[in-house]
């Protein structure tokens, strides 16, 4: 059956076709659509699909499921694997029960991420197989085969799609979902389930002994394949191999190609290729993982071969590959003309206004930041976190962004490091539940004097509005008791906990002032549903307009930064993007904003 599928949906289909019984994950671009596609199908297929509270939790849930003999998948973005690294590393020692596939989606160019880390390094670090799909078809095929390979090796298998695979769409051949098999249940087997030192030492040796067999087995899968056509060669991994294949076809050139889709690689696969060529180019996204391996094999098999790639500066070491760069690099190697894109001069492009992503019109985060700045002043320190609210960086209330949950802990360190000014750490509800709880507990326990602001819009907005334990429902749409953020914060030891509505600007400012003046650890929950959720659930507020007679042209409202507020040269105006939050009416000293009729 052929369908036009998003890469992540193709992965989800592979999971269904493998008959997995449990799928867990934490949202993160570019991985989120896998669980999103499966959640509504959970009931129909009798599978458990969950948004876990963080990646470590998701990984451990999948491991437990696998240990009952059921097939399990876990999804996350590359940086999520840092959070889940602890169970991941030791799982490779203990091994799996039912087949387990870990999907860790990488994001070259940081389209929606804080770094460009390469998950293939983690796979090599843990010594588990890693599949690097080039397109949605391969992503589906590798996912499906990944489960049985996992069972053959007794190890989890990592699938490492990149943004341009996860968010590509293509015609994909898919099969029918397989029914979930009844799992035998957990079998007691301490030497393979209890990571005591006495068990871990032999397990480490066992893991190392497996490697040669894994290389041999993966070499037979057809994902590492070569085509010999001359003494110039290209070795490409994942989508890099596909870019190279297209470039060679377009150039109609005699260039040999080795495409790599599975790690660890059999040395002979690369060695046999290297013996036939005298110059090669290595094309891969992110780190020179493949390139380093090629260099190592070249020393044994063809020390004279010239190796071009990231380490020679031939292929850019940062950012994302693109087909033109790959094409032109190959063209240069074989003496064919490069193709120059009709570049617009910087002079021409300089007339264009920048269009960075921004907080939505009516977003409550903007109002919360405004109130925060009023209460704490511009001079206070605002450790921030990961979510939509990081886009408020232009408002002066985003001073740090490191990783999920780090706002509170970094703020704690800033206080104990000797900072005397006010500190207001900011994070969202989903991020707080992901990894802010431990930081708040630590701050309370160690007596950090600071304020924590939880911008609670009752959803995981940035990644596409996934529910979490505060939302009152699960991924599959089942009702679940919505936990109370204020109650959790009190239990964790915060001395003052208050809740306010950012749309009620005056009360929001007063709440922040009380938190600022509290001589200990205070928490402010700024609670207001996401405007996008409001639109989806049919909540409509009347738009505002500016009374041109009253407007003094002070531009205070304009500097608020709402995309719905414009300035026509004399007075402010409100455009059709207005969502009716009414906050600008509280900001205007002339009371010029009124509800439009």
């Amino acid at each position: 059956m052929r369908e036009y599928l998003l890469g992540n949906v193709a992965i989800a289909r592979g999971i269904l076709e493998a008959g997995a019984g449990v799928v867990s994950g934490y949202p993160g671009t570019p991985s989120s659509e896998i669980v999103e596609h499966l959640a509504p199908l959970a009931k129909e297929h009798g599978i458990h699909v969950e948004w876990s509270v963080n990646e470590k939790v998701a990984m451990e849930v999948a491991i437990g499921a696998s240990w009952t003999g059921c097939r399990a998948a876990v999804t996350m973005k590359h940086v999520g694997l840092n959070v889940a690294a602890d169970p991941f590393m030791t799982l490779a020692y203990l091994g799996i029960g039912g087949g387990m596939v870990l999907i860790s989606a990488d994001d070259p160019f940081c389209h929606s991420s804080q770094n460009e880390q390469d998950s293939r390094r983690y796979a090599a670090f843990a010594r588990v197989p890693c599949l690097d799909p080039a397109d949605p078809q391969e992503a589906r095929d590798m996912t499906l085969r990944g489960f049985s390979l996992s069972e053959e090796f007794g190890l989890p298998v990592m699938l490492r799609p990149t943004t341009r695979v996860s968010h590509a769409r293509a015609t994909v051949d898919v099969g029918t979902p397989r029914e979930r098999k009844a799992s035998p249940g957990f079998e007691k087997n301490p030497p393979h389930r209890v990571a005591l030192p006495v068990h871990a030492r032999p397990l480490h040796a066992e893991l190392l002994d497996k490697q040669a067999g894994i290389e041999e087995a993966l070499a037979k899968e057809g994902w590492n394949r070569s085509q010999m056509r001359g003494e110039v060669g290209v070795i490409g991994s994942g989508i890099g191999g596909l870019y190279a294949e297209e470039a060679i076809a377009e150039l109609e050139a005699d260039v040999s190609l080795l495409r790599i889709g599975a790690y660890p690689i059999l040395r002979d696969t690369v060695g046999d290729f290297l013996e036939e060529v005298d110059r090669i180019l290595v094309v891969e996204e992110m780190d020179p993982v493949l390139e380093e391996f090629v260099e190592m094999v070249a020393k044994e098999r063809n020390p004279g071969v010239e190796i071009l790639g990231k380490r020679s500066g031939t292929i850019p070491a940062v950012g994302e590959l693109d087909p033109l760069t790959v094409r032109n690099t190959i063209a240069r190697m074989i003496g064919l003309p490069e193709r120059t894109a009709p570049r617009m001069s910087t002079e021409v492009l300089s007339i264009l206004p920048p269009r960075p992503p921004a907080l939505c019109p009516g977003c409550s985060h903007r109002a919360a930041y405004y109130a925060m700045r009023k209460a704490f002043g511009r001079d206070a320190v605002f450790p921030n976190d990961i979510g939509c609210y990081t886009m408020g960086v232009g408002m002066g209330t985003v001073d740090t962004c490191l990783c999920m949950g780090a706002s509170i802990t970094v703020g704690t360190g800033i206080r104990f490091g000797g900072e005397e000014r006010g500190i207001c750490a900011v994070l969202g509800d989903s991020t707080f539940l992901h990894s802010g709880l431990t930081g708040l507990l630590n701050a309370a326990y160690n007596g950090a004097r600071m304020t924590v602001a939880i911008l609670d819009n009752s959803t995981t907005a940035m990644t596409g509005h996934q529910p979490h334990p505060g939302s009152g429902e699960t991924a599959a749409g089942e009702e679940s008791p919505a936990i109370s953020l204020p109650e959790i914060c009190r239990s964790l030891g915060a001395g003052l906990v208050e809740t306010a509505d950012p749309y009620d600007l005056v009360s929001m400012i007063e709440t922040f002032e009380r938190a600022r003046d509290y001589p200990g650890l205070s928490v402010v929950v700024a609670r207001r549903s996401c405007v996008i959720s409001d639109i989806r659930t049919g909540i409509r507020r009347p738009r505002l307009r500016v009374d041109g007679e009253k407007c003094g042209g002070c531009k205070l409202c304009v500097s608020f930064g709402c995309p719905a507020i414009e300035f026509d040269g004399k007075v402010a105006t409100i455009n059709a993007l207005c969502s009716g939050c009414g906050v600008c009416a509280d900001i205007c000293p002339q009371h010029a904003m009124e509800v439009a009729r």
Binding site: H111, A249, I351, G464
Partner: protein
């Protein structure tokens, strides 16, 4: 040799329905038995940022179009047309919605928005086939300014190696039934606009 029958770059602003255009073309190409590839902007940029989608009809390589390789540039917003003009091949066609959407850098006075002529002039230097149109206005006539993306699709139809029937079929499969009438009208108005 060519590695794709038709490469289309669709650009605009997050929230303008750029993904819908890709979905309809992709579905229609599949119905026509053609191999198709696309890639979308998800995540952060969807929050009012600049977005670009690639669609390759009759292609079995990657979904990414090279700068200078686009047969058609479909721009839902004029400034975005110029921002991504380098994707257009010298023989390519540019379909440009002339209705600006001001970025927050402009509304807050940090940057200014150029005139439509300032945007179109360099575009016309890059390509001799630039078709500006008020797609948002036409969509309003069809019943909803939100359907500007389908107006653009109607204008694009004649440049695709896919029969119009297939596009209509894909449109009715993807658009919810209650919006279908408006979208059919929008498609028709877009088609007429470039005739």
């Amino acid at each position: 040799m060519r590695t794709s029958d038709c490469d289309v770059v669709v650009v605009g602003v997050g929230g303008q329905g750029v993904i819908l255009i890709s979905e309809i073309i992709g579905r229609a190409a599949m119905l026509a038995g053609l191999s198709v590839r696309g890639v979308e902007t998800h995540g952060m940029a969807q929050r009012g940022g600049s977005v670009i989608n690639h669609i390759r009809v009759g292609c079995s390589y990657s979904a990414m179009i090279s700068p200078g390789g686009g047969d058609v540039l479909v721009a839902m917003e004029p400034a975005e047309a110029l921002r991504y003009a380098s994707y257009l091949s010298p023989a390519g066609v540019a379909l440009v919605n002339t209705r600006p959407l001001l970025p927050v850098t402009v509304t807050t006075g940090q940057a200014s928005y150029p005139s439509i002529e300032e945007i179109l002039a360099p575009l016309r230097e890059a390509s001799s086939r630039v078709y500006p149109m008020d797609a948002t206005g036409l969509a309003g006539k069809a019943g909803s300014p939100q359907a500007a993306n389908v107006v653009m699709l109607g204008a694009l139809a004649r440049h695709l190696p896919i029969g119009e029937g297939r596009l209509q079929e894909a449109l009715s499969e993807i658009v919810p039934a209650r919006f279908l009438e408006v979208n059919r009208k929008a498609f028709e108005l877009g088609k007429i606009e470039v005739e």
